[in-house]
Structure formats: structure tokens, C-alpha cells
């Protein structure tokens, strides 16, 4: 177990270095730089700015400087958001995106898993087709459709929630539900598929032959196995949902990280883009580790030491 964790840690570090390197050179391979704008800067001013941020140095000098900084956990100053370091931007936005994401995820799990289980148990009946049709539609509808629709319904027609903003609990509900809905739909479908697979197993017949009630058979014998596909989906999904959504955060005016992912790349904010990529990758690695450990917990046949 310990050796497994150490091995994983080393792998993550190595992969992180690869990600760092690829991001560094890819960003700079794209035409344009952080200080090119529509209005040409005075050459003197531009030279001063570049000297300050060191973007005029040779690439290898920049690479090793930034790598050295990143290893110490300092992601440097943002090139576009003056007076902010990347660490500060992440420290401000990430908790917001992460709490929104966590809520959305709880909502998605709480809705998706029971729906999937019930749909599988009532396979081929109205209680299967109904929710599964909704789930398919829910997966197909884009966020920029669902979120405004929710605003029209629950802000204007039936004013339950405030339209936007961040700070009080009632502002959390609409965005997290909108963010979680497609995940709920996907989780419901995964759970249903997993459940149907498990319910056709011989050991389910054994469980019935023992005289267990259908409820006991489903809850004690079937659910655990049915959740395995959901767990593997949750790893990458969690990393994605915690780092925020551009659309959701724009529509509901939430000061999260989502917007920075897009803007930093568009504006060639090298350091901020790098910081976000590394953050996302770190989360992904951690979540994948959690998934592996959960797998081990759910399925005793899984060996993680190899």
C-alpha cells in the first residue's frame, strides 16, 4: 500500500513535469504574446514591460526559471492581471469554483444514482423510460440553454432564487443544479447500465433463492457492483467540475476559475494558463488515485499493489 502510494506520487511528479514542458512550449509556439494588443505599444514601454517579466530572455532561460519557480510552488505573476500573482488568482477563484462544483456533484450523485437504480429495477416500464428519456435529453442540452431557461423559470416566472451573484446560500442553488444536471443524467445512465449488468448475474439469482426481499437483493447484493462504472467516471468528472465552468460562471456572474481557463489562453497569459493547467492536472491525478482506492474498497478482487 505504502509502496503503491509512493510509486503513484513519483509518477504524478514525472507526468507533471511533462505537462509543464508541453504547456510551456505549446503556449509560446502560438503566435502573439501577452503584451501584443490591438493598439501597438510604444517600443520603449514594451521593452520595459518585457524586461520586467523576463519574456525577452532566451526560451531555455525562461523555461528553467519558471520550472524552478513552479517546483517551489510559486507560479509567478499574471501577465495580464496586473498586481496579481497566479497563486492569488487561484486562491481566490478555486474555492468558489470548488464549492459550486462540490454542490453540483452532490446534487448529481443524489439524483443520478437513485434514478439509475430505480430505472434498472423497473426496466422496461414507465418508471424506466420516463426518467431515462429525461436523462438523455438532459445530457444533450447544452449548459447555455439550460441555465438561461432555469433563470427564466425560477427567477422571473416563479421568483424563487436570485438571478446571479455569489455570497449567500440561495445564490448557490440555481447554478449548482444547472451545473450538476448533465452529470446527474450521465450518472443515472451509468448506474442503470451497471445495475442491469449486475442484476443478470448468477449471484443475484442465488440471493433471491436465499429468500431475500427484492429491496435487500438490490441494496445488499447489487448496488455495490453497479457503482463501479460510476466511480471510474467520477474521477475525471470531479476534476472537471471542481475547476469551474466558463458558461455557468458567466451566466450567474460567479467569480470562479472557469473564465480564466479561456481568457488566459486567449490573452497569452502564459503564467496563469500554466497555473491552471497544473492545477487541473494535479486534481485529476488526485481524483484518479481516489478512484483507484475506492475501487479497491468496493471490489476486493482489485489488486492495487502491482
Amino acid at each position: 500500500m505504502i509502496s503503491f502510494l509512493i510509486k503513484r506520487l513519483l509518477w504524478t511528479a514525472a507526468t507533471m513535469w511533462v505537462v509543464f514542458t508541453a504547456t510551456f512550449f505549446l503556449m509560446r509556439a502560438v503566435p502573439g504574446g501577452p503584451f501584443d494588443g490591438e493598439r501597438k505599444l510604444d517600443p520603449e514601454i514594451k521593452r520595459n514591460i518585457e524586461a520586467r517579466y523576463g519574456t525577452n530572455d532566451d526560451l531555455d532561460v525562461q523555461y528553467f526559471r519558471e520550472l524552478g519557480r513552479a517546483v517551489r510552488g510559486d507560479l509567478g505573476p499574471s501577465y495580464k492581471l496586473a498586481d496579481f500573482t497566479v497563486n492569488e488568482i487561484i486562491a481566490q477563484g478555486f474555492p468558489i469554483s470548488a464549492s459550486l462544483g462540490t454542490l453540483a456533484l452532490c446534487f448529481a450523485l443524489g439524483l443520478g444514482i437513485p434514478t439509475g437504480i430505480l430505472a434498472a429495477v423497473w426496466r422496461g416500464r414507465g418508471l424506466d423510460y420516463g426518467p431515462m428519456t429525461v436523462a438523455t435529453i438532459g445530457m444533450a442540452l447544452p449548459e447555455f440553454f439550460v441555465a438561461p431557461l432555469a433563470v427564466i423559470l425560477f427567477v422571473f416566472l416563479w421568483p424563487l432564487f436570485p438571478a446571479a451573484g455569489w455570497g449567500s446560500w440561495d445564490q448557490l442553488i440555481l447554478p449548482s443544479v444547472c451545473l450538476g444536471l448533465p452529470f446527474a443524467a450521465y450518472i443515472a445512465r451509468l448506474t442503470r447500465t451497471g445495475m442491469l449488468e449486475v442484476l443478470s448475474q448468477d449471484y443475484i439469482r442465488t440471493a433471491y433463492a436465499k429468500g431475500l426481499t427484492p429491496t435487500d437483493v438490490v441494496l445488499r447484493h447489487a448496488v455495490k457492483g453497479a457503482l463501479l462504472p460510476v466511480v471510474s467516471f467520477l474521477g475525471p468528472a470531479t476534476a472537471g467540475i471542481l475547476t469551474g465552468s466558463l458558461i455557468e460562471e458567466s451566466i450567474f456572474a460567479i467569480p470562479g476559475l472557469g473564465i480564466h481557463f479561456v481568457q488566459s489562453a486567449q490573452q497569452r497569459d502564459y503564467t496563469l494558463a500554466m497555473g491552471l493547467v497544473l492545477l487541473y492536472f494535479l486534481l485529476l491525478s488526485v481524483m484518479n488515485l481516489v478512484v483507484d482506492l475506492l475501487y479497491k474498497l468496493l471490489d476486493p478482487r482489485v489488486k492495487i499493489d502491482s
Partner: protein
């Protein structure tokens, strides 16, 4: 024979398939008395498993459907009683073990959890009692270091050991009837004998009646008192075990006996397989379902289905022909095949 422990009457089970409605079990009747062993033999698809699953309403519905018949356990019809009542009988009074111990045990639960849930459910054991009972049962089925192994998961046991666990689980509430559906088919030959011996031992200790479903006639000969032979969803012959082996009356039984490998001193005897294939249940031949493969078939077999009739040796058989005197010819199926 006034009050058999378990009496199945005219059981008929259908399955809806892409080829139409298939009658997997057709008007099957048999009975089991306390403590005895009934063998049910037949090829794959002859309906022997479905008969027994249907009795406990364990076939998936849909596509399956019990069309008719009764299954009386101590006078109560298993097919019409409430689900609650049936659940009190499943696992408590009638228990089952299945063919493949690899897939019949839940891989995600410890053996202890799977064993204790039956006794806690039916015998009202506390957690402690159930656990002790589980260990006792594992010891009785011959699992070494049972007190420690009870915490293991099924994948940590070998195939034979897993079937022992299944048996321990099935017998832990001392059921009156044990249905063993090909309990040794998935196991090594050496393990097979041990498992059968174990079932017999426990049967004697607890007075359990056993329905042993198998296609292995050797197993039958050793363990059963009576044998029912099924073909295409019907019982075609039922007889005391000796009568069946020494005086088979149905050509299909005869075919099964002839298609077993024999040890002859000169090594000359060749296997005589039954010609043709088992019939498609969705499209059964008219008359006797076996007639296209039957070396004794006469004109009457093509049109008229034979009913079960008694023979002086104690057999019940469904055939128009007296195989003890008739002369075999090449069956229709064999002509077509060659």
C-alpha cells in the same frame, strides 16, 4: 405416496423469444419424498433447470411465464402463494445450489456476510450466533481453518471450496429440500466425487430431500433413488434408479446410456451417440418430439404423442414402442445428416 413432501403437477413454463413462444417445460409432474434423492437427467435445454427454477418462481418474468400447473410443498402451492410466504420458504425450507460456484457467490461480499444473511433472515440469529453458525457450517463442509476463512471473499477460494461454501450456505437453515442444479459440472472430476459424497453425508445427517439435476448418468447411478429423464421440456421416463439403468424403456434413455463411454476389456466398444440435434423448442416435431432421432420410431410416432405408461419393472415411460422387443433402424435424423 399419500402426501409427498414436494409434488409438482402439470407444470408448464413458456418463454417469449425472438422465434416465438417457447415451451421450455411442458406438463411436467413429479414428486419428492422426505429424505430421498430424485435425479433429473437430460440434455442442455431439456428443461431440467427451468423446471426447478420455476418451482421457486426464480425464472425471470418476462420473458418467462408459468402457464399452468401446481407445485405443492407440504400441500401449499408455491406457484400461487404470496411473495412474502414464498420468501419464507426459499432458503429456509427449499434451498438451491447452482452449477457454477464461480458466479453464484457474490464476489463483492465476504463469505461470512453471505452465509450469515440467510440465518439472520430465517432463523432470527443475532450477528454473533449467525457468525458462529457460519463457521460451524464451513467446518461441516470440510473447509480448513473455517474460523479464519469465513472472512475471505469468494475469489480467495478454489472452485471446489467455493461449491462447498455454496453447500454450507444452502444447508445452513436445514432445509427439507435441496435442489442441486448440476452441482459438479464446473468442477474437476476428483472434486466432483467429494462434493457428491458431501451432499450425501449432509443429506443423511439432516434428512434432506435432494433433487439432483445433472446430465451425468454416472452421478445419477451413484446418488439417486429415482430418476426422471427429460426431453424437450417433458419427462419421457421416470424410474427407480436400477430399473432405469438395467431396463430402460424409452429410446432416449437407452440412447443416453449407450452414449456413455464404457470400459471394455478389449477397448473395442465405440461410443454410440444419439443421432441428430436436440430439437428447436420453438418448432417441435409433431407427435413424439424424439421421433426424428429415434431408431425405433414407427409411423404412429410422427402423429401421436405417447403418454406416460407404466412398465412391470416400475418405470413410467412415454413411448409407443416396446424397446425390449423392437428392432432398431437408422433414425430419420441420421439419414438426413449423412
Amino acid at each position: 405416496m399419500a402426501n409427498p413432501l414436494l409434488q409438482v403437477e402439470n407444470l408448464t413454463v413458456e418463454f417469449r423469444t425472438d422465434d416465438g413462444v417457447v415451451r421450455a417445460v411442458n406438463d411436467v409432474s413429479f414428486h419428492v419424498e422426505a429424505g430421498e434423492t430424485l435425479g433429473v437427467a437430460g440434455e442442455s435445454g431439456s428443461g431440467k433447470s427451468v423446471t426447478n427454477l420455476a418451482m421457486l418462481r426464480l425464472i425471470p418474468t418476462p420473458p418467462g411465464r408459468i402457464v399452468g400447473g401446481r407445485a405443492l410443498f407440504k400441500g401449499e402451492d408455491l406457484l400461487t402463494m404470496t411473495s412474502e410466504r414464498l420468501r419464507k420458504i426459499r432458503g429456509r425450507h427449499i434451498a438451491m445450489i447452482f452449477q457454477d460456484p464461480m458466479t453464484s457467490l457474490n464476489p463483492l461480499m465476504t463469505v461470512a456476510d453471505q452465509l450469515t444473511e440467510v440465518t439472520r433472515l430465517h432463523l432470527g440469529h443475532t450477528a454473533k450466533q449467525a457468525r458462529d453458525h457460519a463457521v460451524t457450517m464451513l467446518e461441516r463442509v470440510g473447509i480448513p481453518a473455517a474460523a479464519r476463512r469465513v472472512n475471505d471473499y469468494p475469489h480467495q477460494f478454489s472452485g471446489g471450496m467455493r461449491q462447498r461454501v455454496m453447500i454450507a450456505m444452502a444447508l445452513s437453515c436445514k432445509p427439507e429440500v435441496l435442489i442441486a442444479d448440476e452441482p459438479t459440472t464446473a468442477l474437476d472430476v476428483t472434486i466432483q466425487a467429494q462434493i457428491l459424497e458431501l451432499i450425501r453425508e449432509l443429506q443423511e445427517q439432516q434428512g434432506t430431500a435432494v433433487i439432483l439435476i445433472t446430465h451425468d448418468l454416472g452421478v445419477m447411478a451413484n446418488s439417486c433413488r429415482r430418476v426422471a429423464v427429460m426431453y424437450a421440456g417433458r419427462i419421457v421416463e421416470e424410474a427407480p434408479v436400477d430399473a432405469l439403468f438395467y431396463h430402460p424403456r424409452h429410446p432416449y434413455t437407452l440412447g443416453l446410456l449407450n452414449s456413455r463411454p464404457k470400459l471394455e476389456a478389449d477397448g473395442s466398444s465405440k461410443l454410440q451417440p444419439i443421432a441428430g440435434q436436440p430439437p428447436n423448442l420453438a418448432d417441435l416435431p409433431a407427435g413424439c418430439a424424439f421421433h426424428p432421432r429415434c431408431p425405433f420410431a414407427i409411423e404412429r410416432c410422427r402423429t401421436e404423442r405417447p403418454l406416460l405408461r407404466p412398465a412391470p419393472t416400475g418405470n413410467l415411460f412415454a413411448c409407443h414402442v416396446d424397446v425390449t422387443t423392437a428392432v432398431p433402424h437408422l433414425p430419420q435424423a441420421a439419414e438426413v445428416r449423412t
